[in-house]
Subunit: 397 residues, 2 copies
Amino acid sequence: MTSHGIRDRVAIIGMGCTRFGELWDRGTADMLVEAANGSARSAGVALDDIDAFWLGTMDSGYSGLTLSTAIKVHGKPVTRVENMCATGSEALRAAVYAVASGAIDMAMAVGVEKLKDSGYSGLVRIDPPDDGTATETTAPAAFSYLAPAYQAAYGLDDETMRQALTHIAVKNHANGARNERAQFRKPVTADAVNSSPLVAGPLGILDCSGVADGAAAAIVVRAEDAYRYTDRPMFVKALSVVAGDGQAMLDDDASYASIPEAAQSAANAYREAGITDPRHEISLAEVHDCFTPTELVLMEDLGFSSRGKGYQDVLDGVFDAEGQLPVNVDGGLKSFGHPIGATGLRMAFECWLQFRGEAGERQLPDPEIGLTHNLGGRPGRCVSFVGIFGKSPSAAQ
Amino acid sequence: MTSHGIRDRVAIIGMGCTRFGELWDRGTADMLVEAANGSARSAGVALDDIDAFWLGTMDSGYSGLTLSTAIKVHGKPVTRVENMCATGSEALRAAVYAVASGAIDMAMAVGVEKLKDSGYSGLVRIDPPDDGTATETTAPAAFSYLAPAYQAAYGLDDETMRQALTHIAVKNHANGARNERAQFRKPVTADAVNSSPLVAGPLGILDCSGVADGAAAAIVVRAEDAYRYTDRPMFVKALSVVAGDGQAMLDDDASYASIPEAAQSAANAYREAGITDPRHEISLAEVHDCFTPTELVLMEDLGFSSRGKGYQDVLDGVFDAEGQLPVNVDGGLKSFGHPIGATGLRMAFECWLQFRGEAGERQLPDPEIGLTHNLGGRPGRCVSFVGIFGKSPSAAQ
């Protein structure tokens, strides 16, 4: 019994994305309406043409049923999915599976979160709430573990480690400054990052992503139908989700210098997409840079850098907008903030724009393959999503 | 562009279900472990053999990631779905689509809720929380509207209406008395129902289902693989979800004598399954009897009775365990209570037992087709799920 996979069998024909930020004058429904209608407009369809909807949201209080009310669709299946900070990617995965199954012809995935006025605590709760082990940790604290672990694993001195983290922050904010949908559009200097007030461990405030409101949406159909709607569909080459149960951190060689779930989800996705050399085959990657050390560690877990070499590649500019493999060319979580249900779809949206040549001053020269990586939970016990998207169907499969 | 549907393409090869009730000595994780392992045992597989998991839960605080911890599966996709009181059915739908898509070979759907000590309020919140229209209503109040509307629509006198509702309560509790997994196992008399203290409108306490803890699980594979695991798989013939946006109640002829979303989801499912005469083709139906008038109205919305004739069919015993079309032969929500994420899967579990000849003293003679109907929200704005399951693949498609 072998998985058929979904490589090149489903395509995205329309996407929409709101500006992310402190949207005090907009409710959850307003953002859903903008993202949903934006995706429909870009696909040249009406919301009524869509056969089923998946809503990704964690904390908004919206359910499948309330989405139907917000965007005024009647008599369609509307379902909510949630997987912590990977929720937006899960909405897309649900829509893709439904279309690939043949049960649904055209599906929408839409993700939303309104965090700025919701009392969002930033606490990460990853344990079953009733088994006696539940703990709460702030997100900066949970992810700060990565930095000293990485530094120790590869014998980096403090200054080199700081330079690598700072390079990531400077790069992502420089990218976000060129994106009209980003929350933070001001470039930051290395000096500003190096001297930003400490939040947790070695992480300063400029090592952290922000808290934001936002929504994004995608419309998917079977690949063979895609060119009826657009001459530039985006093909789904692979989707992989891997959840850990925390046991991995009990291994003798466990270390916070790696996020094993990310490595495994990437390996799964590369196998499905037929990618053997991610560093050279992937044109752009949108990764979960909730904190600068997360992006650093991910460069190795996603196979972009050899183990222990990620910091050097970062410092060499490999992942800069003009580098060999641009990472977070849209600005990433660092510039956008992280409205939980929307983030995974926002990542796919940058691939969409880049493949269509609609990325404005961020436009990369002829990108062919994009990767999105979205993480929920925290290092040590997390869920990792990797999606691979292509401008064209593979020549041979 | 036409939907291929999933008729007979996916099969359930194992199911598990806990006892439902006031399980003060069991946590959410305990129930998940029992249901998940029960389904794996009945399929003759290990949890590690399963490629992906979908968790249905509304209020437990569990996410996909925490399910992986509870049942100790590492490195697999584990995702939460939610659609109010139809959440359990949505977990099954997600697993079925994933398998039908070819992306996943073997998937588990597991649903759970622990309501008895969670402070569950019984309030039904169906409106977007931030658009200024949000209301809260108790579930008994929201569903009580059905009774006077039905009575008025068809000119029934108070006594006839009461007899019909009472018949449903007496029937379902008589059925539940024969089910070792039910919360309430005591038959009730018509007198007891007729004189039970009023809760909302004409509904007495014995017109209402209870609040319970429970969990249930199913394992699905592609139909062609099913007989490798069991000689008695259960085939998925149709799944339909329909969400309303509340606009239907603004129509001139709108009435609480019907739940339009239920009628539409049933029509969709019958079309997919090739059923033209539900009353005669369906062997058993598990319907969402959260309150007695819900079951009454559903007999018409699901096409088991003509409009305005449901009450007479109820009184004639058509839906009794020994009737033409047994409804809630396992005892229904009335006997089980309604642990939200588990209920939809509990309904499918009765079809599973009945098809396999494992329903003990409730066993029906050679059932071939089972229907499950699961409702979220409230009359006027709800989400309705209809699933159709078969003992055998259809002879011709």
